[in-house]
Amino acid sequence: MTGTSRVEHVTCLGCGCGCDDLSVTVSEGRITEVAPTCPVGRAWFGDGSIPLEIQRSGQPASLDQAVAEAAELLLEARGRMLVYIGPDLTSQAQRQAVALADLLAATVDSATSPTAAGGLLAAQQRGRAGATLGEVRNRADVLLFWGTDPAPRYPRFMARYVDPAGTHVPEGRKGRTLIGVGVGSDSAPKGVDLTLTIDPSEEITALSLMRASVQGHAREQRSPGLIQAIAIANRLAKARYAVLVHDAEPGDEPRNPLRVEALIALTQALNGPTRAAMISLRAGGNRVGAETVLTWQTGYPFSVDYSRGHPHYDPAERGTERLGSDRFRAALVVGSPALDASVAGTLARMSTVAIGPRASQAPFAPRVTIDTGVAGIHEGGTAYRADEVPLQLRPPLPGPRSATEVLRTLVGAVRAGLGQSRS
């Protein structure tokens, strides 16, 4: 591959912002430039080089050999295996991965359960008031950033959704009031119009009082932080369209697990006096896509156990946490796993199949590895933005083989092993 070319309207999965306006320059088969510049996006694309190996027990193998061995290994462990869905896959690939989990009576885990699960569980209890990101841009006149500064993890959030003019906010950033609330080490964005820092010990009290105030049940407070929190609630209630932004991904320090539910409750309550929506910032890859696919195929967004012959929701116990028990005899890791060292250590002692981007570099010596392209870099298809808007992927580079196709082939091999006929 020679020469320089440019691919327009490329979608970046570096974070959950879902920017689909990138211009990617490719020279000699390598990504050389990504515009507009964004450190997270640049890191996501890299130069686009990936390993292209297929291995069986550490030795090069053909795709047919690798798939056959994978099918045999997985079928032997049917009913006692884990399928892990990494975030760098298209939803088309994720659909095949969940199909495999169903056929193999496996437990499915994903990048969600150790990260954003708490917010999903809270929303299952209460519902939620949300919006797509374009509603932030087009309507939000007051934004509250609760314990989050989008700049480091979501660099273009402000530039895409807050600064520009919108249908109902023709002045853009100038037409909006930005409020930042820092909670302990979770800092607020710089350059906002109003800031407040509250002690983590007062966080849930503050959110509860804010909600009570919005509902007309205010009580006099003595703590300066709580007094200010209530003043912020009153400002939100006077907004035309208030948006509450929080980071659904874990921070450096543990957060109060009740934060998300309290934010949901406050946002819902704000829809009495005005309109309000909560935005959950999400990390990169198509992790929201995995939740979406799991929901339409199983009814549950993460942590699904098929070993009973149907989907069973087990949100309290992560699949990877159960790896240490002798429950699983094998694991299928699809996509690059965000696994800690102890999980990788456990996987190293099991029979594993790794399929996806950089499978051959997995830190647990799989029996079968099949490298594929990365969603949105080498593979087209669909990925979901943080707000669950499905986006088209325009890969700037050709891929060696797509994860979707490899998984579909594996589904066929597993079906054949189970004696199923196809129409």
Binding site: G18, A131, T295
Partner: protein
């Protein structure tokens, strides 16, 4: 049986109202997935002597495959937990047989299997936000056994509202055509015209046909006229599919009637009419004047949106009504505002026969059915899962066919608000099998403009359902003995055996390209999705000719 194979369904009593066949014993011949006139001697036969044969069911209005449905699924783990669905043991299927979960909003595969098990072979998803269209296609790809498509939400979309405000009706028509083609949709759906934008912009709602959307000078009337004219000018197979303003509010029959009158002379479909048929100012039935208007205006059609007692989940683009429902029921609530286009609201509900308002809603739906003069234009729906699950259709059919069962139920319900209801006064009508065939297949197929569906004449898709006669009408319709789709024998002896992939039903009407540069500017100014990335790619089925 593969799609190429032949099959003679022999000895059954045929109810094929589109072809004027009402209970005659005939053979149905199938070849290459289509109904044919004859088959050679020796073709394989399926002996259905004594059984009732109808075209496959056609659901004109269901919520089964959309981002809103998926929000609802996620909201209801407690429903899924008590209704697990194992993978069916299939002889053949397009993809692997899949397990899933039921409840009021089942998982996609389970939805397909359960529709097939009910004798339905064609289903339309009634409300898809254009930006979420690729999600609906993915869900439909994972919904086997039924051919299907979806209606595209318009009437609260920024670009359309701007065209209405500017009086640019031709531009609005071109835009509607572009949007249908770009999303792979089938028809134009209007939900609470202007009212969702009012909800999102702080005006809360629009209650009357001539209420003005603040600061924009637009009324529901202008939106409805613009889109109804667009659909008819584009010669779409199905006209505008309208969910009126004020859903669920006492007294809303007035705005519903005004909407019908506003569209006088235009083809239009009014959906889940029951939810829009309340007298006022308190709760009472407003069914009679509405259905009488429908009876005398042949350009109009409706589906009823019957409420059935039991669990339901309200899922709608009509955000403001869900907020009210959340406040009145105290149940959990999802609201999602969807940029530049529409909204989404979800509240789970339980319809209790002892609740006075629910009993009234139930009675109003039955009044609409029983006072209908033309079953071809007043067809069956529960607005699944809003008025109840599609799995309750057999019980609804029983209420229509069996006055004894209906009167028995009437005695059990809370009578408080039923004074003045014609149902309480005693409606003797019982639907015939042929009328059921009309309201569940022939009628919806005709209203949808699907000449190959809903009948058993030569050239029709070989979608056939065979029932065993049973005095228990609900049992008869709940468990068809055989179901054939596109020539494939899906259900045999009451068991799902084959799960073919469904075909996508969509349109791609033409338009003046001049709209594209204007749209590109609009996207560049306000959308967070690139114009170039907006259209859905990769729909392999050919569009239905317009």
């Amino acid at each position: 049986m593969s799609a190429k194979a032949q099959l003679r369904i022999t000895g059954g009593t045929i109810h094929d109202p589109a072809n004027g066949v009402d209970g005659e014993v005939r053979d149905i011949c199938i070849e290459d997935g289509r109904i044919v006139q004859t088959l050679p001697e020796g073709a394989p036969t399926l002996d259905v002597r004594g059984m009732v044969v109808m075209p496959g069911g056609v659901d004109i209005h269901s919520h089964l495959a959309s981002s809103s449905c998926n929000h609802a699924r996620r909201l209801l783990p407690e429903e899924h937990a008590v209704d697990p669905a194992s993978a069916p043991g299939l002889d053949q299927s397009a993809g692997p047989p899949r397990s899933g979960a039921g409840g009021t909003v089942p998982t996609t595969f389970t939805t397909g299997y359960r529709y097939a098990g009910l004798g339905y072979t064609t289903v339309f998803e009634a409300a898809v936000a254009p930006a979420m269209a690729r999600h609906s296609h993915a869900e439909l790809d994972d919904t086997p056994c039924v051919d299907g498509g979806f209606f595209v939400l318009m009437g609260n979309d920024e670009y359309l509202l701007r065209q209405v405000a500017a009086g640019e009706r031709e531009r609005a028509r071109d835009y509607a055509a572009w949007l249908l083609g770009s999303t792979g949709g089938y028809a134009i759906k209007i939900v609470n015209p202007g009212g969702i934008e009012a909800w999102k912009s702080g005006q809360r709602n629009l209650n009357g046909l001539d209420d003005v959307l603040a600061g924009r000078g637009i009324t529901p009337r202008a939106i409805l006229e613009t889109l109804a004219d667009a659909a008819n000018a584009l010669k779409l197979p199905h006209p505008v599919h309208i969910h009126c303003n004020n859903l669920g509010i006492p007294g809303n029959a007035a705005v519903t009637l005004a909407t019908m009158q506003a569209l006088a002379g235009r083809r239009a479909h009014f959906t889940h009419l029951q939810f829009h048929a309340y007298g006022g100012p308190g709760w009472s039935s407003g069914a009679r004047p509405l259905i009488e208007y429908v009876n005398s205006h042949t350009e109009l059609s409706v589906d009823v949106g019957q409420v059935m007692f039991g669990p339901a989940t309200t899922v709608t683009a009509d955000g403001p009504v869900e907020y009210l429902l959340h406040k009145s029921s105290g149940r959990k609530w999802v609201n999602i505002d969807i940029e530049l286009e529409t909204g989404c609201g979800i509240v789970p509900l339980l319809y209790k026969d002892k609740a006075a308002v629910t009993a009234l809603q139930w009675a109003i739906g039955l009044e609409l059915f029983l006072l209908s003069a033309d079953p071809w234009r007043v067809v069956l729906s529960t607005d699944h899962p809003n008025g109840g699950s599609f799995l309750s259709y057999p019980k609804l059919i029983q209420l229509l066919m069996d006055r004894g069962a209906r009167d028995q139920m009437l005695k059990q319900v809370n009578p408080k608000l039923l004074a003045g209801s014609t149902l309480a006064d005693g409606l003797a009508r019982e639907y015939t099998l042929n009328e059921i065939a009309v309201v569940t297949r022939a009628g919806p197929a005709r209203l949808l403009g699907l000449p190959h569906k809903g009948h058993l004449g030569p050239g029709a898709d070989a979608d056939v359902t065979v029932y065993v006669r049973n005095p228990d009408i609900a049992a008869m319709f709940a468990t068809p003995r055989y179901v054939v789709k596109g020539g494939a024998l899906m259900v045999e002896e009451g068991q799902l055996r084959r799960a073919p992939a469904g075909r996508r039903l969509h349109v791609r009407p033409g338009y003046d390209d001049a709209v594209l540069s204007d749209l590109r500017h609009h996207f560049d100014a306000y959308s967070t999705i690139s114009f170039a990335n907006y259209p859905v790619q990769g729909i392999t089925d050919e569009p239905i000719a317009v």
